[in-house]
């Protein structure tokens, strides 16, 4: 516990905020890695996820890919790519993007898939265009699950960006790696606590946003059970759409 108190003392001492190896620049690095990677990942995942979710095409592939991706050791992937491409911002961002896309994709397409088929059917039957169905029905209803995917992707990226310090990149992980190398346990704890706080703050903010944007009156609509209880007729419709 002494270590924790010492580490907290370090964190809350403004002396350690600015300077070459201080907290704020490393925090900034961490945020830049995270933000940049998530941005690129979103640019990739949103159109792809919307396409898969709306059309149902490539869904099996996406499910298999996202779930088997869990098994890939991200640490090994990171070191491999950095080793081949050299140290720098872009190899790291490339790895982080690769890691962020599957959970984002899963959130988007499964969010759309969870929208009741009968709701979508009726939207089409009263004369919505496919784009209107997507933008006015599927996306608003899928947003909570989409943000769930964003939360997972963000945690993934923050965690992996921490490990990136091992290959000499910046970010809050530097404190941990340096602490371990110098046998300075307090310094390692400083890094660990900072990363935890960062992850927590960002995740809680996203959770807050998630609550905020959940359309009123739909809290129960998004449960899996709701989609299972579809009239048999709709199976026929689905059949026909595929045909």
């Amino acid at each position: 516990m002494d270590f924790i108190i010492q580490a907290l003392g370090y964190i809350f001492d403004p002396v350690n905020y600015l300077g070459e190896n201080a907290i704020l620049p490393r925090l900034a690095d961490h945020l830049i890695y995270t933000g940049l990677s998530l941005f690129i990942a979103l640019v990739v995942a949103i159109p792809l996820g919307l396409f898969i979710g709306h059309t149902g095409r490539g869904k099996n592939f996406a499910v298999a890919a996202t779930s088997s991706f869990r098994a890939v050791p991200t640490f090994g992937l990171l070191l491999f790519i950095v080793l081949l491409n050299g140290l720098g911002l872009w190899p790291l961002v490339a790895v982080l993007v690769i890691l962020a896309v599957p959970p984002l994709l899963a959130g988007i397409y499964s969010g759309i898939q969870a929208v009741s088929r009968s709701t979508i059917y009726s939207a089409r039957a009263i004369g919505m265009t496919e784009f209107q169905i997507l933008s006015k029905v599927e996306v608003p209803l899928a947003i909570p699950l989409m943000l769930g995917g964003l939360r997972n992707a963000t945690l993934q990226v923050i965690a992996t960006a921490t490990i990136a310090a091992y290959v000499g990149l910046g970010g809050l992980g530097r404190f941990i790696i340096e602490g371990l190398a110098l046998h300075n346990f307090v310094l390692a704890l400083v890094g660990a606590l900072l990363v935890m706080m960062l992850a927590l703050v960002i995740d809680l903010s996203l959770a807050g946003i998630q609550k905020l944007v959940t359309p009123p009156g739909v809290a129960t609509v998004l449960t899996r059970k709701a989609t299972d209880k579809q009239p048999k007729i709709l199976a026929k419709i689905a059949q026909e759409r595929e045909g």
Partner: protein
């Protein structure tokens, strides 16, 4: 390949370490989360608290958790216990929600009728409730297994990463082949663990379709990704 043959003893040792260090958290997650989930079902007010607390633990990046635990456990930084406890925490964080949902999915009237035909509370749990929740629990355990095996490699940074050592060593020696071998072997371990869990499921729950077809509807939360 040549490298692998020359270093087969080291790799074998790492493989065994990897298996050992990941089996413990996987089993521990199961043993801890089932009673926790039961408590969550029994005491509604505790449910939110419990799930929330593990949700927060789940947000902690792995490396941060690895180096923080010694301060709480009083262990040395290189003690394998740190990694085992950390992975157990993640495992429980993934499992406790899924397991609570699994118990919730057991219909109340089934439980009532079990009591009505004379099951004692204890035997009702073991013979009715647990078997019915079993398939969903197994599905979650499979996620935990895969996640644990893949996450363990980060432990190489504090000397307990099993096959993760091949990553750090390969990186330091600028030898990508070694990293690839590490990745492939890790995937292999994950795959074998998954098959073992499926086989156990088939033996223990022969009535369950889910253990036969992995593409069934009751899959664990897609979002219980390995976030670390």
């Amino acid at each position: 390949m040549e490298w692998l043959w020359e270093n087969r003893e080291m790799v074998m040792g790492l493989l065994i370490q990897h298996v050992g260090l990941s089996v413990v958290p996987i089993i521990a997650s199961l043993l801890v989360s089932v009673p926790l989930a039961r408590i969550a079902r029994r005491y509604r007010s505790l449910r939110g608290l419990l799930l929330g607390a593990f949700g927060l633990l789940f947000t902690i990046p792995s490396l941060a958790l690895f180096v923080t635990l010694p301060a709480f456990l009083g262990t040395k930084i290189l003690d394998p216990l740190n990694v085992v406890v950390a992975l157990t925490i993640y495992g429980v964080a993934i499992m406790v929600r899924g397991t609570a949902d699994a118990f919730d999915s057991v219909p109340n009237d089934v439980l009532d009728s079990a009591s009505a035909v004379g099951y004692s509370p204890g035997s009702r749990f073991w013979r009715v409730e647990l078997p019915l929740a079993g398939p969903v629990i197994l599905a979650n355990l499979r996620v935990v297994s895969v996640t644990t095996v893949s996450l363990l490699s980060v432990g190489a940074l504090i000397g307990n990463g099993g096959l993760g050592y091949l990553f750090t060593n390969g990186y330091q020696r600028a030898f990508p082949t070694e990293i690839i071998i590490g990745v492939v072997l890790t995937l292999l371990v994950a795959l074998i663990f998954d098959q073992i869990l499926l086989a156990i499921g088939r033996i223990v729950m022969p009535w369950d379709r889910n253990t036969r077809s992995p593409e069934s509807s009751i899959q664990p939360d897609l979002f219980a990704e390995a976030a670390h």
